[in-house]
């Protein structure tokens, strides 16, 4: 193990380490703690300039959060985010299960070329797609609709998901597939009954990753939507910024609400999330 386990050091070092650890975390999370602090302070504090001090009239508890929920378009934005994120997640994962199977199991001419096309497409800057995709979405009558965003996200995320799935399927024991073929099972049934059950960990990992990526997307949200009826929460919060300028207590409560779903997803599915992100970090 590197560095040397802390137990092998002297008493002094051990105590110091255990003391520095929480301090370091505190410093690391200061920006976040600051928002949480803001979100439970009363609004007057910000007009009187008492930004960081103890609130004069006591803490607000969840009052600011309630205001955000009842007096702004926040619920609508959150709902839009859900409507955009969940179908994208299922769509991209379903498509990439198939592409991953096709590219990971079969050997045919052009296999690597198609695989590289998906990989490269996943890395291109968004801007090279922006004008044509916006135009296409508009032509289909889907500009400023949630469906327009979903369709694009599914297509784009399929690139990343294919990279992931194909490498995962590659690592599965081939003997299983060979055995199934000898039994005369059709290719579709091999996919459905043999390979798919083995892909559960990969599917779980991709679901959490895609959920987070899409929930946090901002660029496409502002390119393809513009009204509160279809904008997800990341874009909505900037509109919010206009509505509640300098009302930091509400803005910070709103930001926290917007951040909760991916954060909850991360903490609930931590193992899968990290397995997904660090795929390839180990040989």
């Amino acid at each position: 193990m590197f560095p040397r386990p802390i137990e092998q050091y002297g008493q002094g070092t051990r105590v110091a380490y255990n003391a520095v650890l929480p301090l370091a975390l505190l410093v690391w999370l200061i920006p976040l703690l600051a928002v949480i602090w803001f979100s439970i302070k009363p609004g007057e504090d910000f007009t009187t300039g008492n930004y960081w001090g103890w609130p004069e009239n006591g803490f607000q508890g969840i009052t600011n959060y309630m205001t955000v929920f009842t007096q702004s378009a926040m619920p609508q934005y959150l709902w839009n985010s859900v409507i955009i994120t969940v179908p994208t997640m299922f769509g991209a994962v379903a498509l990439s299960c198939m592409t991953g199977f096709a590219l990971g199991v079969y050997r045919f001419k052009g296999n690597l070329l198609i695989f590289f096309m998906f990989v490269a497409g996943n890395f291109v800057p968004f801007q090279i797609l922006m004008v044509p995709v916006r135009d296409l979405t508009d032509q289909m009558g889907l500009y400023d609709t949630r469906l327009g965003l979903i369709l694009f996200h599914v297509a784009f995320q399929t690139g990343f998901c294919t990279l992931f799935m194909r490498n995962f399927i590659r690592a599965l024991p081939r003997a299983l597939i060979e055995a199934a073929r000898v039994e005369g099972i059709s290719e579709w049934r091999i996919f459905w009954f043999v390979v798919l059950p083995l892909m559960k960990p990969a599917i779980a990992a991709l679901c959490v990753l895609i959920f987070t990526f899409i929930w946090n997307d901002f660029f496409w949200a502002v390119v393809l939507t513009q009204s509160p009826e279809s904008q997800p929460v990341t874009a909505g919060i900037t509109a919010f910024n206009g509505q509640y300028r300098a009302m930091y207590h509400l803005m910070s409560a709103g930001s926290i609400v917007a951040a909760i779903p991916p954060v909850a997803m991360f903490f609930l599915m931590q193992k899968h999330f990290i397995a997904g992100l660090t795929l390839g970090a180990v040989k």
Binding site: L21, L29, Y51, Y106, F123, V222, T238, I274, L277
Partner: protein, 347 residues
Amino acid sequence: MASVTTDTPIHSNDPAPRAKISQQAIAPWLFLLPAFIFFAVYVIIPIFQSFYISAYEWNGLYSPEYRAVAGSEMTDLECTELGNRAARTEGCEPTGENVWTGEYVGFENYRNLWSDPFFWTSLKNNVIWLLLYFLAIPGGLFISLFLNQKVFGMRLYKSLFFFPFVLSQVVVGLVFSWFYLPNEGLLNEVLSWFGGPRTNILGSNDYATYGIIAAGLWPQTAYCMILYLTGLNAVDPEQIEAARLDGAKGPKMLWYVVLPQLWPATFIAIVVTVIGALRSFDLITIMTNGGPGFYNTSVLAFYMYDVALSEFGFRMGYGSAIAVILFLIMMVYIAGFLWKMWRDEKG
């Protein structure tokens, strides 16, 4: 498709049914088809379209097409050439179709870019982003070394250190812009304890870009940290022990024994950091919207968006030209990545 090699060996004394072979030949294409159509329509074709549009001047609109009214003195061609004026011209009528209004300008957009100071500011900022973003890699390595211990509650510590990566960049941007507030921000509050001058970081031409990059480094460092933590988990303990017996420790051990084993993690950290740096858009939009002044904190990704969907009229052609430049820069890295993948596949 003729030269498909199937995985199931086909013995001559055990002839596989023809249907079986062709099924194995067709199956991959059927599995690929839906995703391929999606990907082609939304990713592959738009790349080429952007190249095409970059040779045009286009405001993003379509205009109605006109034709000559039967029996009038006008011809279809004349009506078309009149453009929108045909609506007021006797003898022309709309066909009901809309036509693209792009106007061919050749390399004009690229020539204009060359003499556009904002383009160069954006490019310069892109370079700064790229260089400084690399700090996330040693930063992440440092934190991961610090956290790679087995003490009580370490799992929770690790997830909390990773936390910033899960937040959307929009939230990170908002949080940091409050942190930097000229008078009330926490940063200035702390600086004033030490007698430092109060600075308006995001309002300053000199510091704004660095302030935004610092915000971006927060989640990016967390990402690199998690990559290295996973990598450190897989470091071969026997090699470490052997090196320790040979008297290696501290930085020497890190450099000669541990880092080489961490190369896969470092490689991915480089890839995601470069891409993260070149995709920086959200933070700039949220924190400064390109300001202060004209495009002082802009990068190509931001400038492209701002030009193409400008409130003073869309300039899709010019925007596409910027996108093409950004794409070509990114292509260098993509090609490198693919080359490595190709080598790994072969080897």
